[in-house]
Symmetry: C2
Subunit: 240 residues, 2 copies
């Protein structure tokens, strides 16, 4: 096994900007606080599989790679500990969190509930413009589907879910969703590589789009909740 970074995930964000990276929430992009900046950087590295699950984080090595001293790096690591993206072992430092199959299932279960709630809120409160944008993304995604462009499909899929959550307008929900989703990002990407059940997922997205368009509150909640079950089926076969 090599320790080269990114040999299973082919550089997700290869230069492009529009990637749905987990936005830093407390720091206005390199405005202040080195620790927060580094935390954002680490988040990206974890999510893009540059830092793989289970991997030890060598403080000195990583700090000189990022051109900061160990202190802000350590503080950044603590932030990620608070977000459950890294774990710390007693005197062995920090490792990137590697959720077990069961933990992934539980994460998806919670996320499904939250997305159901988001669907309810979005169907009720979203502006017509927001719904229009989501429908636009939906059709872009369909386009990627028919072209069998997995990467574009993946990105658009993520963007759609994120947009629906944001359309709900509940900041706490948005933040919680973002945080849980970050812990699942890698596994979602991996499972997306598989072609199985792709059709069903698209079918569900059609229904979701229709329910949103019709502002069917209960329907959208149910669909969003059920949709995650689909994800679990894909993921569970992918990681077994």
């Amino acid at each position: 096994m090599s320790d080269r970074a990114s040999d299973s995930l082919p550089q997700l964000s290869d230069g492009e900007q529009g990637f749905p990276r987990p936005t830093p929430n407390d720091n206005e992009v390199d405005g202040r606080l080195l620790a927060s900046q580094v935390a954002s950087r680490l988040r990206d590295m974890i999510v893009q599989d540059e830092l793989k699950p289970g991997m030890r984080i060598r403080e000195r090595q990583l700090s000189e790679r990022l051109n900061v001293s160990r202190t802000p790096l350590r503080e950044a690591i603590r932030i990620l500990v608070g977000e459950r993206l890294v774990d710390t072992l007693p005197n062995r430092g920090a490792v990137v969190a590697s959720p077990s199959a069961e933990e992934i299932r539980q994460l998806l279960e919670v996320l499904g509930t939250l997305e159901g709630m988001a669907g309810r809120l979005a169907a009720r409160d979203a502006t017509d413009a927001q719904i229009g944008e989501i429908l636009a993304l939906h059709h872009e995604m369909l386009s990627a589907y028919y072209r069998k462009d997995k990467l574009a499909y993946f990105k658009l899929n993520q963007a759609i879910h994120k947009s629906i959550v944001e359309a709900g307008g509940n900041q706490v929900l948005i933040e919680t969703h973002r945080q849980l989703n970050a812990r699942l990002f890698r596994v979602r990407y991996v499972s997306n590589q598989q072609s199985g059940r792709w059709h069903e997922a698209v079918e569900q997205h059609e229904q979701i789009a229709a329910a949103l368009k019709a502002r069917d509150v209960d329907g959208l909640e149910q669909l969003m909740r059920a949709h995650i079950g689909q994800t679990w089926l894909k993921v569970s076969t992918a990681i077994s």
Copy 2:
């Protein structure tokens, strides 16, 4: 206004042990890692209103009070930043997070959804022993209600909700619930001081207990979700 700690909240955990404090998750109680220990301590201080919302956290002062150097204290603060219990201002350090009314509403909305999910899981998967324990707590709480013992009522109420979530068996849900609840703990305590609508809350708890006993999955989900609305009514009048 004095800066004496704990003059609005009368020492919640006055020596007793059975208080539902937000359990540290990564460190086995003073096992390792000073930063985590300090983080737990800070969490308690925030939750017990020893550190009040909006209060600046003086690093030097607090560090010598806790007999640690600034470094582990700063790292502890970062952990709490990750948990959204404290915010950091650009160059002015850390302050205890003070959620706005709207943020409190949103927190309760999400929490209601999560507790609804927990109710569903608990009604389906809880062991008979777990349900028995919850019912026992329920009747203890009723006892406190008839004695008008607000503090005991509050603690038991918290314990019941926590137990239901735990009975669901989803660790991620438990953890997320704990984290969001910590951000609401103080305001919940304050609103509990008010006597208004106490009866309705007890009424709802009766229904919840009945649904749990009957393992009514859908019923319990609905009740748990609706129950939070009640909390919001109490809270919103308390903070207005």
